[in-house]
Symmetry: C2
Subunit: 256 residues, 2 copies
């Protein structure tokens, strides 16, 4: 089971669909299903095999409880836990090798309420291998401070789902140029490089902070190394797939 | 100018209204205005003096661009930057001592897109004193891992608005009991206590992490000490006000 997480607009749905295609193209005998966990999404760039909207639709929650979009999203997201058994039954019927899970549009609804960790622990069996893919939005990480705050956000998510291996992805790299991609990836691998990319006034602070955050990732046993991905240019999916396989192969369980 | 930030449902709007009342009750001659920056909110527990909904309404954005609530919220939030001059003009007309700013319902729309930092730097004059109040939702910080991930989220926000002093608030403490409040406050003051509150398996990890995060806060020059607040029981507003005054008095500028 592979959970796709990231802030609103970071490219979760697109990656979900493209990753399924990638895996099936690679080996047509692999059974891959997608699961949409966003009760409020209107159009999705893939056809989800299982869909929370069969059970909860944001518009109906808003109408039934007379809520605006924000309150409705909170409640709809909290209500999802009532349908865990149904979702699990549907997954069991497919008996797939892979389940790719596209989470709610707003990161905080999934990651910072009780819902997300609860779903992650309830779905699947005890021997199910799981991973979290956290998307760094290319638009917001080109400056050191945007990069560091996203890194802290990634650490926060990692800690929230800390029993699950996390891969950090630099998403939508077709929006930035090769030099910029290289710069950001370099920051993620070498925190000294990050410190050097900023001006003198902030150097000390950013150096200190980036060292501390890299320690956080080291302590959690995860790598902060970013995997650059562009679904538009079909770039990076092979690297992501390789990393996922390593996570899922790290014990003897089946992939999902 | 005091920005109220926190995840969806953490109590931003309630605090905004109550803080205004508190300041006015304390000194009726103080001029305090509230500014609502959530284009999607339906009902607010106070009457905002300035309202982004005079310029952008989420429903209209959704309809005009055929978007669902999630896409609509993203676009509406990004569109806000077009009305900065209007908002600034309105503030100037009031010429207030305090501006309390209630931000978008979803934290990530304000904090992790370009909008929030852009608004924070554009509103007000160069000598305007500013503070960020980040709300820790009492419901989600009772367990060490929930507390730590919220702490990382707070650090991420602090870094996003790093030129602005940040106060961290334990919100809605009427929902938890006195012992629990004391425990969480204790965690925020003494990271050893946090490490001791968890089980043996996680002790090492949580101790390491909590030390690292406390270092992050120390480096950023902010305190991670939580201020417990219950607007329902009118608790803690005096402490918050004292902290805010210290921030705003730290140089010779006017409060807002």
């Amino acid at each position: 089971m592979n959970y796709i997480l990231g802030t609103a607009g970071s490219g979760k749905s697109t990656l979900t669909g493209e990753l399924k295609n990638y895996i099936i193209n690679r080996n047509p005998e692999t059974s891959v299903i997608t699961l949409n966990l966003d009760p409020g999404v209107k159009s999705i760039p893939y056809v989800p095999d299982i869909d929370i909207r069969d059970f909860i639709i944001l518009d109906e929650v808003m109408e039934k409880y007379s809520l605006g979009p924000n309150g409705g999203m909170i409640l709809a997201s909290d209500l999802m836990v009532n349908y865990l058994d149904d979702l699990k039954d549907e997954i069991d019927e497919y008996n797939p090798d892979w389940v790719i899970i596209d989470t709610a549009g707003q990161l905080e609804l999934f990651a910072f309420r009780e819902t997300g960790p609860l779903i992650a622990s309830a779905l699947g069996f005890s021997d199910t291998q799981r991973a979290v893919n956290f998307l760094f939005d290319s638009n917001f990480v080109l400056r050191p401070n945007g990069f560091i705050s996203t890194l802290l956000l990634a650490a926060s998510v990692q800690f929230r789902f800390r029993n699950i291996s996390q891969l950090n992805i630099l998403s939508k790299v077709d929006l930035i140029d090769e030099d910029q991609i290289e710069m950001v990836i370099n920051w993620s691998q070498d925190f000294h490089a990050l410190a050097e990319s900023t001006n003198d006034r902030e150097k000390g602070l950013i150096r200190e902070l980036s060292m501390l955050i890299s320690e956080v990732f080291v302590q959690m046993g995860s790598t902060s190394e970013l995997i650059p991905i562009s679904t538009r240019e079909e770039k990076g999916l092979d690297i992501l797939f390789g990393h996922l396989q390593r996570i899922f192969d790290s014990d003897e369980s089946k992939f999902y």
